[in-house]
Symmetry: C3
Subunit: 305 residues, 3 copies
């Protein structure tokens, strides 16, 4: 099945296949399912870029998108997520994209028989964000081996930190973390290493800033926005200390002048809007993987070999 | 005109024509209007399955769907339903589907010149739900004559009970009702007969459970969910007493372990998700009826004769 | 670039070109961009007719519409309008339509590189409403020269009053204003002239009523709805005093029996629903202007000359 729930579902081989497909889509290569395909995007949390990006990817593949609005659905009448998705399967959908505030919401969907693509679960996973980050890095450096990636900020609440660090290390990169100690997740940290903020920025090939998830914090950090920016943000001064070819990434939406100085959002090193563009190509590749028949998939691998 | 407001709008002949068309659509037969057609779904109440089902049906017929969200429309500025629908007619829509909390909202729309398809009015009618129930029963038994249908539960607040009982009796079935006496509607009851819950379930060919409309109740029933389930629900024990070939139906969303034991929702007798699938085919047939020209409609009847 | 932010962006020549194109679209003439085009409608204020009208225009031109709901977007996470629009540009949109409650919201979007079509800004501008009014008047009278236009009502809060009066005077019409003195805008008034209500209605070729913007008023007028209707509304008696061929217009949604007697909304002189129909054609023309290449645009002018 073409589910994509966590990056752990994908072998390194499969990740490379998706990146190769995405790269082809970025060069206007086409693909379409061999019969009409219908899809819905179930977003139970606010989103502009992930939802729009999936919508765009779906239309570029010629899919029919059935609108779904969580706040006018029968979820309001107490319907379970399982019954909602099973309903959509029953009316003939080919696949669903889901974003949900609950960690691992997909565990209760194991009896669903159409592909599920995870658009983000709670503080858990966000595999298409990870894939678009990988594509952006690969476009820049041509490889992951021995690259230094610094992931900085709200590691504890970040779906991005978790998905990205695991995948990057599997692909051969070195990952270090930085940011406020209150936001360290021991498990994540155990997989990489910690560096003070200035050293992290000076040695990184990729400075990957995380969004402060104001909407997820139950406990508050004892810092004003300005203090956060000075202590842990990418200030104009710190940007000057970066290596000549290193790049800046951020999953967005950006809190300007908190994680990053507003003037740097569109600077020469920034790949922030490039990441968004790449999101469409990566999602096209993930949707293709979900919708192609097993025989189609197998034949493609033969061609590659 | 191709309005469908209540089941009373349809002769037995017309019902059979819609079911035959729906059956053809279920076998992937196609139909498309002879020029571009534009439609909008005006849902003033929450819905997953009815709205998604119409959206799916519309796309399968190649219609263009113009999005309409009640909670961001000029209804918020106090615009009347008539002016809203007249606006949509003026901008060129070919037909509208409407769900509204007001009983017989369509009475104020008699000057509208495009077909109106009722997706549910208050505690009144829900003709496409009725038609999909009829299709599901007809698929199973090949006829309605002398079938025993038990409609169980919240009869008073149910659009389904009203539409279904009238249509089923017209088509030759026997309808009985069961459930809490507080929820009997004398007028509905007058058309059928009452049976105690165990007898109703043992004698029925079709056990049609109704959803408890928590969101419509002004008065509350003096029963916990568990008490309701034991006294009036389809428990695992009661299911065992059903006749060998009888089936279970429910308009959904299901309150699991209230109207029906959770384990029975997808059991062998359950047609609950089959009903949802059939909803798409029935709505395709109703949309075809709304959009075909009078001459097209007449020619089809000639062919049938 | 094909931006349309205010009527001031358009020369009289360009206005006439748009009206000519709209007129052609009204006669079922087609046009499509020379490659797939993707568009989004960003409505940060409630709307039925403007939003539906753009959606309809977009589909008639074969554009792909990417859904955007302000109330489920990252705007809720504090994202700026600039970052939201830049995101949509990054994922590959060809143009955006925006309605926003802030006057001149578009001033902060000057670095956006895709066309922006203003669907209404605060109490500022609403150029496509103005163009549809112009088309409706031109269809009726064949010219603007020396026509008497009476704009009546809530001039102070009206985007329509501002856009329309400027454009109409540029095109050769005479504009007068009437209504409650509390709602006069000295700047607008300076451009035309004031007439008492009965005289305005008796001398006008076009009686253009404005909607009372209940949702924008911070100060309240000291009049009941009935008093407003009697003092400043188009009553049944006042309609009888209109010149034989003069027409009634209103941007809608109408407050029935306030700005206009309910019985007059669909009377023989009323062009209120005709305006809505024309809205689709005008928006098709504006979208064409936004999406055609500079060379296409230039070639069309050569053909016209």
């Amino acid at each position: 099945m073409g589910n994509l729930l966590t990056m752990g579902d994908l072998s390194a081989e499969e990740i490379k296949k998706i990146l190769a497909d995405a790269n082809n889509f970025s060069k206007d290569e086409g693909w379409a399912p061999n019969q009409s395909a219908f899809i819905a995007n179930l977003f139970f949390e606010p989103s502009t870029r992930t939802k729009s990006s999936f919508e765009m990817a779906e239309r570029k593949l010629g899919l029919q998108v059935i609108p779904f609005e969580a706040n006018t659905s029968s979820v309001l009448k107490g319907e379970t997520l399982y019954d909602t998705v099973k309903t959509l399967q029953s009316i003939g959908l080919s696949a669903v994209v889901i974003r949900h505030e609950k960690d691992r919401y997909f565990d209760e969907l194991s009896n669903i028989n159409i592909p599920i693509i995870n658009g983000g679960d709670g503080c858990g996973h966000h595999p298409t964000q990870c894939l678009l980050d990988l594509l952006t890095i690969h476009q820049e450096f041509g490889s992951f081996t021995d690259l230094n990636i610094a992931i900085i900020g709200d590691i504890l609440h970040s779906r991005v930190a978790r998905s990205n660090s695991e995948a990057l290390m599997r692909l051969g990169a070195n990952v270090c973390f930085s940011g406020p100690p209150e936001w360290f997740d021991r498990q994540i940290i155990a997989n990489g290493s910690y560096l003070p903020i200035d050293e992290a920025i000076q040695t990184a090939d990729v400075v990957m800033l995380l969004r402060i998830q104001h909407e997820r914090h139950q406990e508050h950090l004892q810092l004003t926005k300005q203090q956060y920016h000075e202590q842990y943000g990418l200030t104009i001064a710190r940007e000057k200390s970066m290596k000549p070819d290193s790049i800046i990434m951020h999953p967005a939406p950006v809190n300007r002048n908190v994680e990053i100085a507003s003037a740097l959002v569109e600077c020469g090193r920034s790949r922030i809007f490039k990441q968004m563009e790449n999101g469409v190509y990566v999602r096209m590749a993930v949707l293709k993987r979900a919708l192609q028949t097993p025989m189609e998939r197998e034949m493609e691998y033969v061609i590659i070999d």
